[in-house]
Symmetry: C2
Subunit: 201 residues, 2 copies
């Protein structure tokens, strides 16, 4: 049998995808490195060539799952819309992602994936921060936003949006009211007077 | 040997305290009802006389650990200070509780206690909401706060405060800046112009 030598980047991705699928099924805590390598059909040595530890591959999984969200924000930033419209789109993106039953949410709410949840939030923040900072600086320069604390304000808005969207049990009416409240709060926090935020229910 | 018949409220509390101590040591997931009853030296039947399930006693533990915090808020509400000063004290209380190494924090960050974390947040919200709503209504009536969304705004401020205090890794300077930002944001969100919030580092 010929031994297939894989491209290192490809092999690394294979390991990450195997880990992701096991973490989604069994949770991070109950997944052993031996199970990850078994799934990819390589030895433990190969694993430790790419990753220092199980926690190290967890961070890689977190970065992989947040990548499309960071990409969405990057695309919003590239557009021709004004800074307030861009902020509006980013907040709607967060609300939509949190509402969905997609992979990332399933993964994060799987039993034993509390640490992954933390790593995902960190990876999201690290990926999005520089892009968002640029949008906010531009908005302040243009006089659309009036605040001395743009980054902190945006951090607070994201935290609150996540807090809002975690309250799954709300009925439609409460959600609608919360969204209206968040539109008002966003205007106040960023000091916006000439733009009306609109969050989708 | 004489069988000691305990007062039902006392027995119930004993079970809650045993569960709390086991959840703190081993985590909720890895604690069995059989271990709780063994610690109190009663039979399983006694447990099920007081609680429907392990999740039921988890809720009782959550209510017990949040009780002193709800009591603090109740005492703040009773004081003679103005509504803005009261809000300021409540936010400082949250910051201080999150910073501490006390029982509740240890309990919540113990592996396997993700569900307890959720129950604690729910119990805090349920306990504090009616008290806070009264403070906010008074502040709006007196013209100290200007907002159409008092409850939502306060939820937003609490989420933001928790978000802030979860970033343990920050150095003193970043924390100071974040506190100043939060003071500014609180004024904006509640529409306060005649009071300067002051959060302790």
């Amino acid at each position: 049998m010929t031994r297939i030598v894989k491209d290192p980047a490809e092999r690394r991705l294979e390991l990450i995808e195997a880990a992701e699928s096991l973490f989604a099924k069994k949770g991070y805590e109950d997944t052993a490195v031996s199970e990850i390598v078994k799934k990819v059909k390589v030895g433990q040595g190969t694993f430790y060539h790419y990753f220092k530890s199980k926690e190290d591959i967890l961070e890689a999984v977190a970065k992989k799952v947040v990548a499309p969200y960071v990409e969405d924000v990057r695309n919003i930033a590239k557009g021709n819309e004004g800074p307030a419209t861009k902020v509006n789109s980013i907040l709607n993106g967060i609300l939509k992602a949190n509402d969905s039953d997609l992979g990332i949410m399933k993964l994060m709410h799987q039993k034993g994936n509390h640490l992954l949840h933390q790593k995902v939030e960190k990876a999201l923040e690290e990926g999005m921060s520089p892009i968002v900072t640029e949008i906010l600086s531009k908005g302040i320069a243009e006089g659309v936003f009036k605040t001395e604390y743009p980054d902190e304000s945006f951090g607070f808005l994201i935290a609150s949006t996540l807090y809002l969207s975690h309250n799954f049990s709300w009925d439609h009416e409460s959600r609608e009211r919360m969204h209206t409240a968040l539109e008002d709060i966003t205007s106040r926090v960023l000091g916006v007077t000439d733009y009306r935020f609109h969050l989708e229910i």
